[in-house]
Amino acid sequence: MSSIISQDITTCTTNIPPNSTTNSPRDRQILDALNNDEPDWLLTSPNNSTSGLKRLNQPLLFQILMVENISMSKLSIIDTINSNINPNSIKVDTMKNKNRKLINQINDNDSNINDDQINSNNISSANSTFKLTLQSKSGNIYFATNSIPLPWINCPLGSKIILNKNIIIINGNTFLIKSNSDFTFLGGIIINYNENKDLKQLNYLNSKLQRSTNTNTNTNTNTNTNTQSRKRRQSQTVE
């Protein structure tokens, strides 16, 4: 079964029947999730204004394409990645970095220094909210966001996750992870997704920022009408 979690599920072929007696319960769970088809209402419903909240009716297997900390601005994440890639470039105009010391030399014999200490500027804090970009075996893209801390959030890209029956899905494309029973994290990796991961993430964030700058410039003329309609959509009197 380890072969499934370390390959791209959109191209994965497996001939092991889910009910084979040689399979462990975990293997059977993975195979079930892989073999289950996405329900028809998934992905098609964003155009349907009545869709709202639904619950998944059977477990599905996904691979994690991207993890974004959406509690932090893109500029802060870019700053953090840049200073991890090149500690000399760290910006010193805030008190945030006052205790940061450059590590220019490491004593090989000192086993007390570990990678976590070297990469002390982490963009994954326990209280943050994350947006996961997920891909199903049919290649469809979904999103998930967490309301509970996820200890595996720093996982390699291409890790596999089963979203279990009854997990909430909003508008047919965004899963809400509200409890540990909503998912089974399997681990795994797709190696080439992780090559130059920091640089890829930097490019992605920079182009997203650039795009939003361009969009802002283009839509400036329509600001009033857009703002009003957005306010109407986003503000709801529940009574």
């Binding site: 893109k74 008190m95 450059l102 802002n216 709801q236």
Partner: protein, 659 residues
């Protein structure tokens, strides 16, 4: 028996002579117009076994000597710059220093003892050693055992008498630390100033005119004087100046590269019968930088819980706003910039003058802990000015602190302890109260008022209040609202700069109560760029990163403005520091060479300060530290010298971009 006492400034010599001489000292000229010699009799020195001594009290005017390279051999253009990393150093005296040293030598000639009364900090220790060296030239009979050091931090009579009765020795570790710092600053400063100036002078003049930079490198004093042309444009380097500039440029670039981002959050409005408006509860998750995810939370909450939320936490507890910690130099400069809009140099100069006039304690201190034995109550009494005419606006408050009324909430309390103790001086505090007609400038008066109010606030009771917090659960998402009722203002009454106000009352809800949501909103906002650097922020960053000392921070900030690397700009009530094109080009130039961590970032200077501390603690030697750090600068020099074109290209680029 003859005793020669030497202070760091004439005002201190005069005040100490007046105290030790019981008001019966006579003054003589010293040969330098700003220094006088005060003669008097005193019998309290323990080293003279209580015998009557004939005392001469005189002073220097800051450092007694300078250190430089020989101008004939190592002047600008007379040697390869890199020779200066090893060139011998010699003592140099300017015109005034010569007059002062002559006076010290003359007065020391028949002295049996030398007592140093310089300021009790690292620099004062070094000046004390300089005085000893000059005194030795006038009196070869003087030995270490005849040289004493007075330890004092203000000019209050009992304190000075106690310092005279309990003399200590010069701390040679501190002397060596300062010697190390001076040598490194000189070698790094002169070499890089010459390299930068020779490389960039013509380009800078062509782009910005001959007045682009002004003044001379402090670390290249004598060797620049032979060339007036060079004086017109000097691109000076200083080991503290560049990191100070780096902070300002980093902020400038952060603003220049800022892109506003949209974020979203959820708010709940709950009816509040005790207020005219509903109470707004904020989302514990704060702002999310993704609309789709925020919308997912919002829709799921509506679908799952509708318009009902439940109280899951209700806390009401006494709370306090703490009185300020005892005042340090950095805090003084930071708060005077923030509250009184005085720059760091103005506030430190004013505090220095107030100290010399005996109104406040020594203003250069890192200590935020008052010694338990200090009679602070007496100082509060002094501020109360009971029975005096023209009392200060805070005198009544000071009187109230000492009240015998058992029901008075705000009683005198010994100040809180901070975490810093330089073991040399107590925190800054007023020594004597200020009469309405005291001979001080308006700026000195404002700084005195700040010091007094801060001191009284630190001796007061914390402000007291009751805080309430309510947490609602809406479909597993948490929403919070806080309330505060200020019950006793206490120290806030004398410290108007601290804000702590009663807020609106929260709705009356009980634990586990289900409440109706009047309105739930998904709101959006946009991030805004940080503001340019203020001086108080810069002081904080320099202090936190170990750039300069409490005493020199103000000088460095002033210097980068004089050098035209940074200019101050007023916007409304605030003054911001903005880098010039030259300032930006220098920082990015060293980045492009790959030396940003040693020049525009605080890391190299911080490392040096740590080494100096080790010398003070006896864990390092001057030779080791000089060899190590000068060796590093030598390699940075080679690298920069090989990349001069990079500096010029970056200057052109920055000049184009910012024009």
């Amino acid at each position: 028996m003859k005793v020669l006492c030497v202070a760091e400034k004439n005002s201190i010599a005069k005040a100490v002579a007046n105290i030790l001489g019981g008001g019966r000292s006579s003054s003589r000229d010293s040969g330098y117009m700003y220094v006088k010699n005060y003669d008097f009799q005193y019998s309290g020195f323990s080293f003279a076994n209580g015998n009557d001594c004939q005392v001469t009290m005189t002073s220097v005017a800051g450092h007694l000597t300078g250190i430089d390279f020989s101008n004939e051999r190592y002047g600008w253009g007379k040697c390869k710059i890199e020779e200066l990393f090893d060139a011998p150093l010699s003592n140099v005296f300017d015109k005034n220093q010569k007059k002062i040293t002559e006076n010290i030598k003359r007065e020391a000639r028949y002295a049996d003892y030398l007592m140093i009364w310089t300021d009790c900090d690292r620099e004062g220790e070094y000046i004390g050693w300089e005085i000893y060296q000059e005194a030795l030239k006038g009196n070869r009979r003087l030995t270490d055992s005849q040289v004493f050091r007075a330890v004092f931090s203000h000019l209050e009579r009992r304190h000075i008498l106690s310092a005279a009765r309990n003399p200590q020795r010069l701390d040679m570790n501190s002397v060596n630390a300062v010697g190390t710092r001076i040598e490194i600053d000189l070698r790094a400063g002169v070499t890089f100033t010459r390299l930068l100036t020779d490389t960039m002078r013509n380009k800078v003049i062509a782009a910005m005119g001959p007045s682009a930079t002004s003044g001379r490198s402090s670390s290249d004093n004598n060797n620049n004087t032979n060339s007036k042309k060079k004086d017109s444009v000097v691109i000076s380097y200083g080991t503290c100046q560049f990191p100070t500039l780096g902070f300002v440029v980093d902020r400038f670039e952060r603003i220049r590269n800022f892109i506003s981002e949209e974020f979203w959050t959820i708010q709940l409005h709950i009816e509040n019968k005790d207020a005219n408006t509903p109470t707004v509860f904020r989302w514990q998750r704060g702002n999310l930088f993704d609309r789709l995810s925020c919308l997912a939370f919002y829709e799921s909450c509506i679908e799952i819980a509708g318009n009902k939320a439940k109280v899951i936490d209700l806390k009401s507890k006494p709370t306090s706003k703490y009185r300020p910690l005892p005042l340090t130099t950095v805090e003084l400069q930071k708060n005077c910039a923030k509250f009184l809009k005085l720059n760091a140099k103005q506030s430190l100069d004013a505090a220095e003058k107030l100290y010399q006039k005996g109104f406040v304690s020594y203003p250069r201190t890192e200590t935020d802990i008052f010694p338990k034995v200090m009679d602070l109550r007496a100082l509060v009494e002094n501020q109360a000015q009971i029975g005096q005419q023209g009392r200060s606006p805070w005198a009544e408050y000071a009187e109230g602190l000492l009240s015998d009324d058992p029901y008075a909430p705000n009683k005198y309390q010994f100040p809180r302890n901070g975490t810093h103790d330089d073991k040399a001086h107590p925190p800054i505090h007023p020594v004597i109260s200020l009469g309405a007609t005291a001979n001080i400038t308006p700026v000195e008066r404002r700084v005195y008022e700040y010091i007094s109010r801060h001191f009284l606030a630190s001796c007061s009771t914390d402000a007291k209040g009751q805080s309430t917090s309510l947490t609602l659960d809406w479909a597993d998402e948490k929403f919070l609202a806080d309330g505060l009722v200020v019950l006793e203002r206490n120290f806030l009454n004398v410290y108007p700069w601290a804000k702590w106000e009663t807020t609106k009352q929260l709705p009356r809800l009980e634990m586990n109560e289900e409440c109706t949501i009047m309105k739930s909103e998904m709101k959006s906002g946009k991030t805004s760029p940080p503001k340019p650097m203020t001086e108080s922020e810069l002081i904080m960053l320099m202090d936190a990163n170990g750039i300069g000392t409490d005493a020199t921070i103000a000088e460095h900030i002033e210097k980068i403005q004089i050098r035209n690397y940074v200019k101050s700009e007023k916007a409304g009530k605030e003054t911001y520091l903005q880098p010039t094109k030259l300032g930006v080009a220098l920082v990015h130039g060293f980045e492009a060479i790959g030396l940003e961590d040693s020049f525009a970032k605080p890391f190299q200077r911080r490392e040096m300060e740590e080494e100096l501390k080790k010398i003070c603690e006896g864990q390092q030697t001057r030779n080791n530290v000089v060899n190590n750090i000068v060796g590093k600068y030598r390699s940075y020099f080679m690298k920069t010298n090989n990349s001069k074109n990079v500096l010029l290209q970056v200057f052109d680029r920055v000049n184009r971009q910012l024009s």
